[in-house]
Amino acid sequence: MEISVSNLLKVIKLAAQIILENGGETYRAEETIKFIGRAFDIKEIESIATPTGFYITVSLDGNENNTLVKRIRKRTIDLHKINDVNQVSRQLSEHSITLDEALEKLQEIYKRKDSAIKYHVLYAGLSSAFFALLFGGHVLEFFTALITGIIVSMVSRRFENLQSYQFFSSIFSGLIIACIAVFVTFFSKMVNYNSIIVGCMMPLLPGLAMTNAIRDTIRGDLISGIARATEALLVASSLAAGAGVTIYMAYTIGLF
């Protein structure tokens, strides 16, 4: 079967890009690249994927090399897209779709905007609220965390197109969470601000990034391990800084 290198590279690039931009692991991107390459009997295919970009070299006959570099700037989490890319690479390896069809499908996945995104604000609030209950909250904490989670989700969406999105959204989220929790505690005198703050922080914490960082390092993917660890540290420490400053001020003023 005759395949064009440019189409193959486009498919591989888009697949890896979607995986890395939507929170997939780097080894998953590398494996998908290798998997698609093997399905088309490519002589040589080699890739290095890191959270901030990837490099691919493809050689159809072993003589001429085609290399591609792609920088990843935006990183969000969308498990549905990762699953769809996985489906496409599976279909490609079974040869149930052609390269052109795969390219079309991947472009569709890449461009897709989630229609239910307006509900995400509500889901974020509810998730925070139930975490507040899990960490020892009661009815008042539940509703405070619900409203705080909704506000935080709406505010951090404003920062989405910013260059240093993660830093600003985390630090402002921490600030807002702690402010609301401290004020509600001060005025009602009967809520526990700890459970509100922890409950609202739980969905924002880089839990998987932290564990993935160590796991990548154990696997020997040192660069992506360090990159993930830095990302997790940045998010966690800016969240803590935002909340910490507010609580520190509350102590200094003598609110409680």
Partner: protein
């Protein structure tokens, strides 16, 4: 007893909504929170009976194992199941307490809680690495 039961329900709801934020595929939305609650129960039981770090290890092992099993069953990446299910076990409270101790100028207990939290995160990572290594050994050349 009733408190533990309520905790499990809260855990179920919290990870369900978390999975919804992360846009998890619709047909996984019942399995993931269930795994999350059982994993949380294992974590609670082990940390009450044995030791907290062991609790994190055991809970994560269960969640990661179920993630790999469901990944085979649904033919989806294991992350889709592991990511929302692991969130309740992540030591968020430990991180928060570390920060709180720093803010209160209590450096000694901040370092103590901080070191403990890092140990717990490392325990979680080792559990996940072990399970994924075992899963790679077992699968017969197929990618999930």
């Amino acid at each position: 007893m009733i408190e533990i039961f309520l905790d499990l329900i809260y855990c179920f709801a919290a990870s369900l909504f978390f999975a919804l934020i992360m846009n998890a595929p619709k047909n996984t939305l019942m399995h993931t929170p269930l795994v999350a609650s059982i994993g949380y129960l294992i974590y609670l039981a082990c940390s009450a009976q044995l030791n907290t770090t062991l609790g994190f290890f055991a809970g994560t092992t269960f969640v990661a194992m179920m993630g790999e099993i469901f990944a085979r069953k649904f033919k989806m990446p294991a992350t889709i199941f592991i990511f929302p299910a692991i969130i309740p076990i992540v030591p968020g409270f430990g991180l928060y307490e570390t920060m709180l101790a720093f803010v209160q100028n209590d450096i000694l207990s901040a370092l103590e809680i901080g070191a403990d939290t890092i140990f717990n995160i490392v325990a979680m990572a080792i559990a996940m690495a072990l399970v994924s290594a075992a899963a790679i050994k077992m699968k017969s050349g197929k990618m999930n």
